[in-house]
Every structure is written in structure tokens, then in C-alpha cells.
Amino acid sequence: MRYSAFSIVKNALSGNLKWKPQWRQAEPKSHYDVIIVGGGGHGLATAYYLAKEFGIKNVAVLEKGYLGSGNVGRNTTIVRSNYMLPGNEPFYEFSMKLWEGLERELNYNVMLSQRGVIMLYHSDGQRDAYIRRGNAMWMEGVAAELIERDQLRKMIPFLNYDHARYPILGGLLQRRAGTARHDAVAWGYARGADRYGVDIIEHCEVTAIRRENGVVTGVETTRGFIGCNKLALAAAGNTSRVGEMADLKLPIESHVLQAFVTEALKPCIDHVIVYGGGHFYISQSDKGGLVFGAEIDGYTSYAQRGNLATAEHVMEEGVTMIPGLSRVRVLRSWAGVMDMSMDGSPIIDRTPIDNLYLNCGWCYGGFKATPASGYCFAHLIAKNDTHPVARALRLDRFARGYAVDEAGAGPQPNLH
């Protein structure tokens, strides 16, 4: 069923009774060409591009919970391509371009809102680092702007210009960056993949990986054994656990990141603002809630919940950046389990096992990567060859000494 203003009117007039499920509740078949573990944004996008771009349609996406129950459904929805390192920037810009055509491609409004992401700087050193980054973006033809304090003041008057612990000196702006509706991305890709015949199987947890003669032949699941020619892991947050089923040793720790939303308010914050004096970032959802977050809780965890100390710290940073938030009330906090890699950058690669493919390590930045990640992973699975923009994101980079360390923090995941 194609969506359009017309279809909405037509259906409304017939009592909205004729809408169809956006994707089928598929029953697992006994065998697929490709099985993708994980019904998050990346798994679904991979399935979609496999079918659409690479003609592989006999595909299943296995999701242990409900579709979108992972990080794709609990992130702060920021999409941007303002990276510094040459291994990252082309990849994220590829993603940004895919975002820009996604709604028409999927016939699903994922509410991409290119409202601009501004990252504030508070010292000369930080400014220089952002200039370096801005120029790295321009190297790839990605527009970036340096906004000086006076101009910033006009643009965003409510920041703490006069009393902040760390003065707000300016910011690096990417106008094309912004937000997208998290759930809609999962649903849109699911619907898109489903239309190409991909089976999306929810409430189906992979519990073991079956190997014969060193080759993966399928997976044991809570809904029985399912065979496959190729197995692709996109189990963000649970990568180590799934990887363990195939004896993979991975450079991953699972960490919790909290996010928060305030009560709904009339429009008041028009950009995505990132505080450089801490890690705080904030934007306003179309429903009116201010969606925000900051640093991870810092310890490994598989529990989707955070602690109060971190939450309080997030609020401290919030009122320090925007004093007027003080009386705004926070409605809900939640958390997601992410796989933090050892250099803070993702991994899209083959594994030592020939038909087992790996997509992981997205840390707290993988939502924006969803389209490119899906595309590149599909490319890899279909052609057994790394997509050019993902060349730096291979698994052996640590052994070879080519970590893609955007934060420069070294192999300690909770510092990235």
C-alpha cells in the first residue's frame, strides 16, 4: 500500500479500516540465503539494501524482541556527518546523502529534519580542534561553518553566554545535519524490506550458531533452527554475546547510555546543540519534548537502565549550558546498551569464518550511520568485498595499528 496524502484521505473516508500491516508477521522458513541477526536500524537497512540494491531477497531478519526495541528505538536521533578522521568522514557523508533521499525512497516519512547541528567550543584549543574537523569535512565537500560568539548569540540567544563555567566562544555548525524520527527509521526500513519479500521475524532470539566443517550453516533460535548460506550480525549492544556463539573474540565492551525527554513544550530549541564544556546535547522533538543526553554511565552493562549519579550530572551540564532549562521538567529517562569499540569507531567486516559477517561497534553514534551501514554491509555480504567508504572500518585495524580514534582516547571504551 503506497502512502500519500491521497491514500490518507481515501482511507479516512472509509473509517481507516483498510490499512494493512506495515510489514508481515513472517513465519521462519527453514532456510535463507542470508540471515541477519538483529532487527534494529542496521539489520533492517541491510536487509532492505540487500534486496533492493543487490538483488538478494531470500533474506530473514531475526529480532529477539519487538522490532526496533534496541537502540534504534531509544537514541537521541541526531544525524550528522561532521567527523574529523579520513576513515570516518566519507562514510558518514555517504550516510547523510542516503538520509536525504530516504523518505521518498522508502515512501515513509522518517521526519528527517535538517535543522542544523552546532557544537559549541569554549577554549582556543577546542576551537582549533573544531576548525581541523570543519576543514576535514570540507575535504569531502561537506559544508561546515564556524559561528563566532556574536553571531551565535543572535542565532541561539538563550545559551549561557555570561555566567558559564567555561565561556561559550562559538560553535561549529553543520546545517545539513539534524534529527530523524527514530522509530520511523526502523519501521520504514522494515516496510521497505518487507515489500521486497524479506521475512522480518520478531520475538525470535538467536541462541546458537551452527557450524559444520568450520562453515556457518544456520542458527538455533527460540523459534527453532533456521538454515542459511550467509549469516550477518547486526546485534548492536549484544554483539559480544552473539559473537561468542561463533567463538569470535571482539574488541567490544557493552556500555549503557542514558537519554531523557522533558514534558512537551511549545517550540523553543530549533537546533541540535552540543555543549563542548561537557558532553551534553539537546534537541526538541516534533512533539515538543526536549530530547537530551550526555556521557555514558561508564561501566559495562547489559541492563537497559542507568544510574542517578550520571543523570544528575547530565542535568548539571544542561542548566550550565542553558540556564533557562532550570524550571523545565524531565519526564522520562531510559537507557540503551551499546557496543563500544576500542577506538570508538564501528566495524563492518568479514570474520575469520567465511560466511559470517560482522557489523558492530557503533557506540553512541550509529543511528546516523543506519543507511550507510546497511548499504555497506549489504555490499560486503553480497560481493564479499568492502565498500570503498568503509575501508577504514575493518576488524584487523587494531592488529595492524590503524585504529580510527576520533576521540584520541586510546583503547579504553568508556573514554570515547
Binding site: 554475546r241 571482539l250 559495562t300
Partner: protein, 92 residues
Amino acid sequence: MASLITCPHCGVRPKEEFTIRGDASLVRPAPTASDEAWHDYVYVRANPRGRTLEHWQHVAGCRRFLVVERDTFTHEVHSVTDGAAFATENGR
């Protein structure tokens, strides 16, 4: 765990007094060990769902590195021992 840690030297303390260094089950290889051993030590993590050993430093207290044995899913703490004692006992 995520709220309180019982430091063997200082007693029950809020999480804010600690920083976390990471997996405490890793053993630093000999300088002559293989590339793979070093790679695994620096980059590979078991990352279990369940019991794990982690180094927490009581930075705002006694500044000792503690080995916290806890469950990464329930967040229950099973034991907290001094890091040096742990290392010595485990023959490091």
C-alpha cells in the same frame, strides 16, 4: 552497584567517588609475548553478560584500584577486593 560500592578500605560509597578502568581479568603479557597475545590484552574483551571482574578506582577516597566482581545484567556486586591484593594472589 551503579549507585554504591563498598570499598574494603573506606566502606560504602557513592558511585561518583569512583572511576572505572575496565576488565580486571586481563593479565599483562610478557614483553616477549606474541603479537596476538598483546592484541588480545589491549583490544579484546570477553564482555560477559553476567559475572565480571572490573577495576574501579576509589579516586575520591583511598585511591586504591579495587576489583569489583559484579553482574553486568543485575548490577549486583558479589565482592570487592583490593586490586593489589587480587593481583598478588593471582600471581601477577
